[in-house]
């Protein structure tokens, strides 16, 4: 196990941030830590990197307790661009490689390798301040992996990126996985987790509510398919859904039907004849629904059965 946290607790004053967190990440795995802001993602990273200690529980990284020494094994790409703007791309890489104990020709090899991997050769000698945001983010990532760490922690790596840059970063994470690097990815972007992660842990209020592969997590939802509906009369919809035995979920004004079996749009509209539907979209069960189901159970509205729904 490359990362292991058992029953980890951490509080800042009266605020309990981690409340018995259990987390295990295997070697070579891409593990997604999904959570809202304030769920405890950053605190988890800070404990794993030895920046802060936990109040209780056991934590190990590559079989050792977190400390300054294990930081040579870890590369962290922070969410914000954290680079020396007056230095060039390669100078940043050399500086951060150097403080990760790389020296001489080894340092040069590592810098050249990472410049190649992230396709930075065109900007190698350009000052960071002259680069666009997208290229700066690429250098930000390069700095995290210049010392070829066994574990890479990516803290919301695609926040603020355009679509193309996101996809390029995803491809890079897949390259890391192919190379056998263990990746811990924190994100609140569900499609990112679905696309990249071998396993996902849903972090809420300082503990993992559920973890597993995307497929396994999707089985949490009692549905074969989802239908997102926009409806004029929600009471009527709830009533009809209840009569049909279809559970309904409402999150932030969006209404979703949990369909027990796959169906066609025409059949579904037929089942809800008389209910003024403005739009209906069928989609497969995804991690987003799982996340909402687990983290916001109080927003669940089960359909209410009734003999007549007029």
């Amino acid at each position: 196990m490359m990362i292991e946290m058992r029953d980890t607790e951490k509080s800042f004053g009266a605020r309990r941030v981690l409340a018995g967190l259990d987390l295990s990440v295997q070697e070579g795995e891409v593990y997604g830590l999904l959570g809202n802001n304030g769920a405890g993602k950053s605190t988890t990273i800070n404990i794993l990197t030895g920046l802060i200690g936990s109040d209780a529980g056991e934590v190990s990284v590559a079989g050792r307790p977190p400390s300054a020494e294990i930081r040579t094994l870890i590369g962290v790409a922070p969410q914000e661009i954290a680079l020396y703007q007056h230095l060039t791309c390669k100078e940043n890489l050399r500086f951060f490689g150097g403080i990760h104990r790389l020296r001489g020709s080894t340092l040069k090899q590592h810098v050249d390798r990472v410049v190649d991997t992230l396709d930075l050769s065109e900007y190698g000698d350009a000052r960071v301040s002259t680069m666009s945001g997208g290229w700066q983010r690429r250098v930000n990532l390069a700095v995290a992996i210049v010392h070829a760490p066994a574990i890479v922690i990516l803290d919301e790596p695609t926040a603020g990126l355009d679509v193309q840059a996101r996809y390029e970063l995803w491809e890079f994470v897949r390259t890391l996985r192919r190379d056998g690097t263990t990746v811990l990815l924190t994100t609140h972007m569900m499609d990112e987790a679905e696309s990249l992660c071998d396993r996902v842990g849903i972090l809420h209020d300082g503990r993992i509510l559920r973890e597993g592969s995307i497929d396994a997590l999707c089985r949490v939802i009692p549905a074969a398919e989802l239908a997102e509906v926009d409806v004029e009369d929600i009471a009527l919809l709830l009533c009809r859904a209840g009569a049909l035995g279809i559970p309904v979920r409402r999150y932030g004004g969006r209404t979703t039907l949990l369909l027990p079996a796959k169906t066609t749009l025409a059949d579904l509209i037929g089942q809800f004849e008389g209910v003024p539907l403005r739009s209906v979209t069928l989609r497969p069960v995804g991690i987003q629904q799982v996340f909402l189901e687990l983290t916001q159970p109080n927003r669940v509205s089960e359909g209410v059965g009734s003999g007549s729904c007029e």
Binding site: T49, V76, A82, L87, I99, R127
Partner: protein, 258 residues
């Protein structure tokens, strides 16, 4: 130990490269002491019998007060605030770089800057016909201790008070400029009223100026400036301890809030 030294050199190298690239800052760090030296050199030219002797008399105060005060005290403050604002401080915290090595690197970089400024100020002094009469090594020791005093205070202000770049000027100016005036940077301390003259004995800039002026103008030996050197040694130790403590507390806060 060698890792700390290596990392300190690497940090110092980085700080100096950044400074060389920041042309505007570099320009003003050179322009300010140059203008001050020329200005005060001309002001005192009649009194000291020409531009050369006047530069010899003025150069120590300008170097320690006008040049190193802003570079070695203001420099670390801006550096720490900048690291915080650019988020590179967090990145450094996530690396194996120790706080000691970082601190050492900043000290090294500012010593190098102080040497560069000394070369400029004394280059101009020699060009104007003035000079440095005493031991260069003793002068270097005074510069070293002065830089230590300033950098320690710079770390203290940077880590303790300056949350953003805009916050830098206030504490540095409020505390530093009165110390410069009382320390005899711009005019002789004999002009101070007696109670301020007594108070000036507790001002590290006063001891920097007295020691360097004695060596530069009169060729004083180490015994003649022993009291000033002891004061500076003590103050450097205190300010470094204060700076280290404030820096560690800041790192603790950064870790907890990172």
């Amino acid at each position: 130990m060698s890792a700390i030294l290596f990392d300190s050199v690497r940090v110092a190298h980085r700080v100096l490269i950044e400074l060389m690239r920041n042309r505007r800052l570099l320009f003003f760090w050179i322009l300010f002491p140059t203008l001050m030296l020329l200005l005060f050199g001309w002001v005192y030219a009649d009194e000291y019998g020409g531009l050369g002797p006047s530069f010899t008399w003025t150069a120590p105060g300008i170097l320690l007060g006008a040049a190193m005060f802003f570079s070695c005290l203001g420099g670390p403050v801006s550096l720490i605030v900048g690291e915080r604002e650019r988020r590179t401080l967090r990145r450094l915290l996530l690396s194996p770089l120790s706080g000691t090595a970082y601190y050492g690197g900043v000290v090294l970089a500012h010593l190098a800057i102080a040497l560069g400024q000394a070369a400029i100020v004394y280059g101009l002094t020699y060009a104007a016909g003035g000079g440095f009469r005493g031991s260069v090594w003793l002068g270097a020791l005074i510069l070293f201790l002065s830089a230590m005093c300033y950098v320690g205070l710079g770390f203290f202000f940077g880590a303790r008070f300056a949350g953003r770049t805009e916050d830098v000027t206030g504490p540095v100016a409020a505390v530093g400029v009165p110390l410069l005036v009382m320390g005899g940077t711009f005019f002789p301390v004999e002009l101070l009223p007696p109670f301020l003259h007594t108070l000036a004995q507790a001002d590290p800039i006063y001891h920097m100026n007295m020691a360097l002026k004695a060596v530069a103008q009169e060729g004083a030996d180490i015994k003649a400036i022993a009291l000033n050197l002891f004061f500076l040694l003590g103050f450097a130790a205190c300010s470094l301890a204060l700076g280290t403590r404030a820096y560690r507390q800041m790192l603790g806060r950064e870790r907890a809030g990172a």
